[in-house]
């Protein structure tokens, strides 16, 4: 790609990576997570080949055992912080990286494992592990932004690979990434999917969930699970009160709020509001 038609302002240090003499160095780091978002990176192989001369992937253990030390131009961080060691490691990653991008529900809100934030993690360990004494874990699972400054958060459980390509592309060009904050409903309507809440009485988080998946679940007759976290200015209370008004019990709605993005503030507050005494431990 040549730079001749780029406005000089865009080629500033802060704006992007394209003006660097060397192809920018990209690293991928994993914290507490299922690796699904890293798999999404791998499934971008065609796109990554297209820009092979524009970025160097120097640290991506899921793909290659060869890795280089920092500093890095871009760090993609998957996973949440659940141990003291990871709390230290994310600080090192931050220090070594110019742009730190948190990817996925775990990195942006603590992930499904943030359910432990409502329980007693010692008890969870006792139930799961034969020798819980070997387990050293924090009592919470938290988003990367709770620990270090994050330059951009890419939502999703897992992330949408097209949005990832958009983010990388934007970084290379010195633009800000375009990842909409509107509801999933727009996507349903654009693709002609009939509302499963209105037509089939299915509980759906779509109206308060950020777009990103392209409205997959409603197109398969399922309500939205909220994989991309709360949309911009979500009105969760109105939605849950509507369902309660339609005869659903508050206790049945808490698990909907406490899902892949349980600890995202809007979902957390709404789950806590509808049933403050909900016993998260009872699922064990």
């Amino acid at each position: 790609m040549n730079d001749s038609n780029k406005h000089p302002d865009q080629a500033t240090e802060a704006a992007g990576l394209k003006s660097r003499p060397q192809a920018p160095r990209l690293a991928v780091f994993k914290f507490a997570s299922c690796d699904g978002c890293q798999l999404q990176i791998l499934s971008c192989e065609d796109e990554l080949l297209t820009i092979a001369d524009q970025v160097q992937i120097v640290h991506f253990l899921e793909a290659s055992s060869h890795f280089e030390e920092g500093p890095y131009d871009v760090a993609l961080v998957e996973g949440s912080i659940t141990t003291a060691a990871d709390r230290d490691r994310i600080r090192q990653v931050r220090q070594q990286s110019r742009f730190l991008i948190a990817i996925g529900a775990c990195a942006t809100s603590g992930g499904i494992q943030a359910l432990k934030n409502w329980g007693d993690h010692h008890e969870f360990s006792r139930c799961v592990y034969a020798e819980p004494a070997y387990i050293r874990t924090l009592s919470t699972s938290t988003a990367i932004s709770e620990h270090v400054t994050v330059d951009f958060e890419l939502r999703g459980c897992p992330i949408n690979r097209l949005q990832l390509v958009e983010v990388i592309q934007a970084l290379l060009r010195g633009q800000s990434p375009r990842t909409p904050r509107h509801s999933v409903c727009i996507d349903c309507k654009r693709r002609g999917t009939v509302c499963v809440a209105v037509a089939q009485d299915k509980v759906c988080l779509g109206p308060v969930t950020q777009s990103g998946c392209g409205a997959i679940c409603p197109s398969f007759d399922r309500g939205c699970y909220g994989c991309f976290g709360p949309a911009g200015q979500p009105n969760c209370e109105s939605l849950t009160e509507h369902w309660i008004g339609c005869g659903r019990s508050p206790v049945s709605l808490v698990p909907l709020m406490r899902n892949f993005n349980a600890d995202a503030p809007a979902f957390r507050e709404e789950g806590d509001r509808i049933d403050p005494d909900y016993d998260q431990g009872h699922v064990l």
């Binding site: 309507k189 037509a199 009105n235």
Partner: protein, 448 residues
């Protein structure tokens, strides 16, 4: 062709021309009509069952239609039901609207490609040459199409794609014989009777169809169908069923001074009440047959050598839709709901000389929390502000007035869709000013 020879056809045509609104089709002729239209190269689109609702999609034969089905609609609720009858059209409007065919949800409007020498070539995709025959268009939907015609192609800026699809389309209307709880076309002057703007219009009775012909193109189709003159009995049944629909309409919205009412009450406490319920999810605008907002983005592949400029449906309920340099102008649900309702029912009059609402009730049914705009208007009407809170933006008399109707317009009395829909005479520059005016009014009313 039932009548066979050209002579007989010409004779029948003359006969029936003299007796417009009085043809009769047997029920089985519907299939013939669909096959005829397809044979003429039309893509026939109409109601069909899908995803637990009656949606609009391609129709290949009469059996694709939701025969024997009806719908039960309430705020925030839609259910399919067996009608217990044989009718093809015994239901009301569903989640889709015809705008999806003229104003597609996603459309590439421009392309750019980088050449070897580093320069760019730009190209504009040709408009679609698809010819749609819309089968089953209800009265409120005819009114909605007329509203979108004004916005998309009868003003100074013509949407090429819309115009191409719209002008080549054939419209086969259907008179409603039932009405949903959410219907209020009678309040908006748009229905339930199809009055004009169709090529053909059907009224389905227990035995068959009474057919009305609206245009020359409609004649050409009708003349090739097996038909006869409708008997007084057949006409009476059609009339009775159309009246049944009208009698079933229970929802009302008073349009009396609605423009001033809303614009005078921009700080009414009721906006906070509705904002507490509204999810700002955009569903009402997506399903509304007159809403026309879109967003345009440049989408490129990773190498950046090919770029497509894509237009997609968007909504004033989208937080990012009001994002301009310096921030988001409608940064709360209250402001976004108010923007929608005041545009639809008030400033639309200034901008397009018609209400933006045709009373189809879709926004009521498909709102996930069942917000009903007629109730929101009524709440404000019950306790309007004592005095004017902000100076009312005045429509410029020369900007949006139909010649000869200046007096009516200066009194700011909104007219119903049905009354204004036929006006396509307004000059191009007038309309541009009207738009400009409305956008000033909009900006003025929107910032807090």
């Amino acid at each position: 062709m039932g009548w066979g020879e050209a002579e007989a056809m010409a004779m029948s045509r003359q006969e029936t021309l003299a007796n417009a609104a009085s043809l009769w089709l047997e029920r089985s002729t519907l299939d013939e009509l669909i096959r005829l239209l397809r044979g003429e190269g039309f893509t026939v689109v109409g109601p069909r069952l899908d995803q637990g609702a009656i949606v609009y999609g391609e129709i290949e034969r009469a059996s694709d239609l939701p025969r024997g089905w009806t719908d039960d609609q309430k705020p925030g609720k839609y259910r399919l039901e067996n009608s217990g009858g044989e009718a093809y059209f015994e239901y009301n409007v569903g989640p889709h609207s015809w705008k999806q065919f003229f104003f597609p949800p996603r459309l590439a409007v421009e392309r750019a490609k980088r050449e070897e020498n580093g320069g760019w070539t730009f190209s504009r995709p040709e408009p679609s040459d698809e010819r749609y025959a819309l089968l089953g268009v209800r009265a409120c939907e005819l009114a909605a199409i007329a509203v979108q015609d004004r916005v998309m192609m009868n003003g100074p800026y013509v949407d090429r794609e819309y115009a191409a699809r719209r002008e080549s389309a054939l419209i086969i209307a259907v008179n409603c014989t039932v009405a949903a709880e959410t219907c209020f076309c009678t309040s908006m002057g748009s229905g339930p009777r199809c009055q004009a703007d169709f090529d053909l219009a059907l009224t389905e009775t227990e035995e068959g169809f009474v057919l009305e012909v609206g245009t020359e193109a409609g004649w050409e189709i009708a003349a090739r169908l097996e038909h006869c003159e409708a008997s007084p009995d057949q006409l009476a049944s059609a009339d009775r069923l159309r009246h049944r629909a009208e009698d079933q309409i229970s929802k009302e919205m008073s349009n009396d001074g609605i423009r001033d009412l809303l614009l005078n009450n921009l700080n009414h406490p009721h906006w906070d009440k509705v904002a507490a319920r509204c999810l700002s999810c955009t569903n009402c605008t997506m399903v509304c047959p007159t809403c026309f907002c879109s967003t345009v983005n440049d989408v490129s592949e990773l190498a950046g050598d090919e770029v497509e400029r894509v237009r997609q449906w968007d909504s004033c309920f989208n937080l990012e839709f009001g994002y301009t340099a310096g921030g988001t102008v409608r940064n709360s649900i209250r402001n976004r709901y108010r923007q929608w309702l005041t545009h639809k029912l008030a400033s639309w009059h200034d901008q397009f000389d018609t209400s933006g609402c045709v009373g189809c009730g879709r926004c009521i049914t498909w709102c996930p929390v069942g917000i009903d705009l007629t109730e929101e208007v009524e709440a404000i009407r019950q306790q309007p502000a004592k005095r004017r809170e902000v100076p009312l933006p005045q429509p410029r008399p020369d900007a949006c007035v139909v010649p000869g109707e200046a007096a009516a317009d200066q009194s700011n009395r909104p007219r119903s869709v049905g009354q204004t829909i036929d006006d396509r005479q307004r000059g191009a520059s007038d309309s541009a000013e009207a738009q400009q005016d409305a956008s000033i009014a909009d900006g003025g009313t929107d910032r807090e």
